[in-house]
């Protein structure tokens, strides 16, 4: 009984940490412009629209976060093997991973923007100096919370995987969940703010991103407050729900029916989410209505 109570407490804590991780991940990838919408940031100078937006997408978010979280987990694990205090070990690992992320962001911006030089896109050193540290700060939060959640799963919930292996699994899941939820919001709502709300961007408008903002040219730092409005919390909710339900159904129901209890509960949760999704879809169709009269 006590095992289950501790397990539920750890599950709740891991779910909350994962929610923060998801929000910080999406904010970091929007400030650094790393998700799929970065294809527009790369395309804009080629269509003649130069800009001052950061350009960090050497890889997508899932493999990049896998690298950083696994690095942090690996270093933390090494320190834990030397009997260093757990919190200190995780912080050391996260600091190292954040420096690697900073190097990644710097080389990515310099390289990708330099490759656009023949279209007249300049490399702005002040953009490099101001935005890189902001992304590093958000990345620190995302990596630290994910590594802590992995540490809890490994130590308190006795998952068979070692800490670095858990880092690969959850780093990739963090990047995938945050990327899937936050990318459309950044791409359509921020980069194409001048398009009419409530419709997709027509293909003819590709590359014509918003480059002039509230005061002067748009800077990527302002994507932070924008992401915090919906994309960040939605991504946090997504990853938090994933981690929470994955742990919750196992901790509570694994002893029921020889392990099949967790499977049955998982099927029920999937069906519940399917019903919620169908409700959201019908709500949209009813409240927004068709674009053209239905044939």
């Amino acid at each position: 009984m006590q095992e289950i109570i501790i397990g539920i407490g750890v599950t709740a804590l891991a779910g909350a940490l994962a929610a923060v991780a998801g929000a910080a991940e999406d904010t970091e990838s929007n400030i650094g412009s790393q998700g799929d919408p970065n294809s527009q940031v790369q395309l804009a100078p080629q269509m003649g629209y130069t800009h001052r937006i950061y350009n960090k997408a050497v890889s997508g978010e899932p493999p990049a976060y896998t690298l950083w979280v696994t690095l942090a987990c690996g270093v933390a694990w090494a320190f834990l093997m030397m009997n260093v205090n757990a919190v200190l070990a995780i912080i050391f690992g996260t600091v190292l991973a954040t420096f690697v992320q900073g190097i990644y962001a710097t080389t990515a911006y310099l390289g990708r923007t330099a490759s656009l030089s023949k279209f007249g896109q300049p490399v702005f050193i002040d953009v490099l100096k101001s935005v890189t540290t902001v992304t590093m700060g958000h990345a620190f939060v995302a990596i630290f919370t994910t590594v802590t959640a992995c540490y809890l799963m490994s130590t308190m919930l006795h998952h068979p995987f070692a800490l670095p292996l858990l880092g690969i699994v959850w780093g990739l899941a963090l990047g995938a969940a945050g990327s899937a939820t936050g990318n459309p919001y950044y791409g359509k709502e921020r980069q194409y703010q001048n398009q009419k709300f409530g419709a997709g961007v027509p293909i003819s408008a590709s590359g014509n991103i918003v480059r002039y903002a509230e005061a002067g040219q748009r800077s990527s730092i302002d994507n932070g407050f924008f992401t915090a409005k919906l994309g960040g919390p939605a991504s946090g909710l997504c990853f938090g729900l994933i981690v929470f339900f994955e742990l919750w159904r196992t901790v509570l129901f694994e002893q029921v029916a020889g392990g099949w209890g967790a499977v049955i509960v998982g099927v029920i949760i999937i069906l519940v989410f399917m019903i919620i999704d169908r409700y959201v879809e019908k709500w949209a169709r009813k409240n927004y209505g068709p674009y053209t009269a239905e044939a």
Binding site: D36, P37, S39, G60, E61, P62, P63, H159, P160, F161, A162, L165, V169, L172, A173, G175, A177, S179, A180, G182, N183, P184, G187, K188, E189, Q191, A199, G200, V201, I203, S204, S206, L230, A234, S235, C238, L241, I242, E246, T250, E254, G258, W260, V263, V267, I269, I270, F273, M274, I276, D277, R278, V280, E281, A284, Y288, P290, Y291, T292, E294
Partner: protein, 286 residues
Amino acid sequence: MSAIAAKPGANAGAFQPVASVIAIILAIIFIGVAYFLGNSGILAGGAMLPAQTLVGIIVGAALIAFGVHFVPVGGAPAAMGQSPGIATGVAMLATGAGLAGLFGGAWAASLGFGVALAGGAIGGGLMMAITCLMVNISYVYGMGIPAASGKVEKDPITGDSQAAYKSQGTEGHGLPFISYVGGVIGGLFGGLGGTLIYIELLDFYNASFPALNIAGEGASALAVGLAGIFAIGMFLVIAVLSAYNITGTIEGPHDPKFKRFPRAIVAAICASGICGLVALLVVAIL
């Protein structure tokens, strides 16, 4: 000969019979090599265990390749509401779901083969269910866009009309219900295949470590770690291979591109054969 002079009418997604037969023959050769290695004692565990493990790995890889084709991926256009699907890459999204499933399956590995496989499948399906729901919420509440597909007139499951809800100048947006269900099924197959590969390798390593005089607490941790890393690596190989077959974006099981999946399954059988053989031979150099 230039690309322009290539045979006209060659379909990008056409099934290649000669290459497929060669791939299947190669896979059978690999299984034969595994049987030979087990029989001659180079790999411990008895005559049948290496071959059995390799067959399990190949089946798992085929399941992963099939599952990846169900996942609705829109890529960069989806991030701007120009095409339906999730705005991430195919390989990474499928891998994320499969790894979340592997996490659950590895946890249940001690409870039995069937339970572990089911747990892995459900883990992958659950991650895709939550992700697809949040994607739809992002489109509907964050961008004010209803879900619509550009490839079909009516949703095959719900019968909703699609053309009137598609904004002008785009190919569709969001996740119609068939895409959502496709995503969940893709996660189920991905988690199932990944967990199968992991369990097969884990059983093989646990059986062959005692013969090498590696035993005790460290041995089981080593077996788990090795099996986990090889399962993740093979998952990535198969996911990227299937992503090439899809050529970037797919709307789900209703997309005409979905019919290309036999090619990916045959390629996965051959690729996982050689990768599995390497995973088995790792024990021989320890």
